[in-house]
Amino acid sequence: MAFQIVINLIIACMWMFLNESYTFASFVAGYLWGILLLFLLNRFIPDTFYLRRVGKVIKLIFLFIRELVLSNIEIVKLVYKRQPQFEPGIFMLPLDLKSNWEITLLANLITLTPGTLSVAIAHDNSHIFIHAMHIDDIDESIRSIKDTFEKAIMEVTR
């Protein structure tokens, strides 16, 4: 991945020198040419095409924004209810992710999803403790966190 980005930057700089115009616009044009070349010559370069991974990162960002808006609407509904009904509680979620970066990302995503807030992480990184607004449907939220977020993060990092 890093190797491909370096090749892409070299192609962009070469495009600038060949054009003899050292502006940002020609750099961007060279970068686009480099992407095209890397895509065509993908067979001769180690690793898969790196824009695939970039696409997955963009997908993760859009997931993040969608969940943020949904959770906001939920919270606002709860705030303006006359008699808000809570059944709060803290539950435990077993983690499949291992490295520190992945767990940080997952904790941030959990905090911004509807009705859940990450409270703490166990000492051996094996569990994460989550405070939920409605403790009754924890199975539902465990399944959604496992299915959407952990899968999306794994696709990006591995």
Binding site: N72, I75, I90, T111, V119
Partner: protein, 124 residues
Amino acid sequence: MIETGIDITLNISVSLFILIGTFFVLSSSLGIARFPDIYTRLHAATKASTLGISSMLIGTFLFLYAEHDIVSGKLLLAIVFILLTAPVSGHMISRAAHKSGVKPVTANRSDAYEDALQKHRKNS
């Protein structure tokens, strides 16, 4: 003719963004004032205020672009920064509250973190 049309659209959209942002920020504060315990208050503080402040900053960004033709990167950086840091500060405060002994209001005493902490203390 076209330019005045663009100006009108920009003005209307800036006021819409600012009003939506103010609504979310106000409801987050209302949640902080109304909810029963610290953890539910953190729900309100971390979620609603991030979207509210991002919406207000987007409104300011559009306004500065319309008036000055400035593409202000600092405001966009501030939005990214708020989106990244609000969950982190919520996590820190909730862990600190739990460690300093604030009991959550729970339905049928479902506090897995307390159980795990007690188990850890017993083992060590």
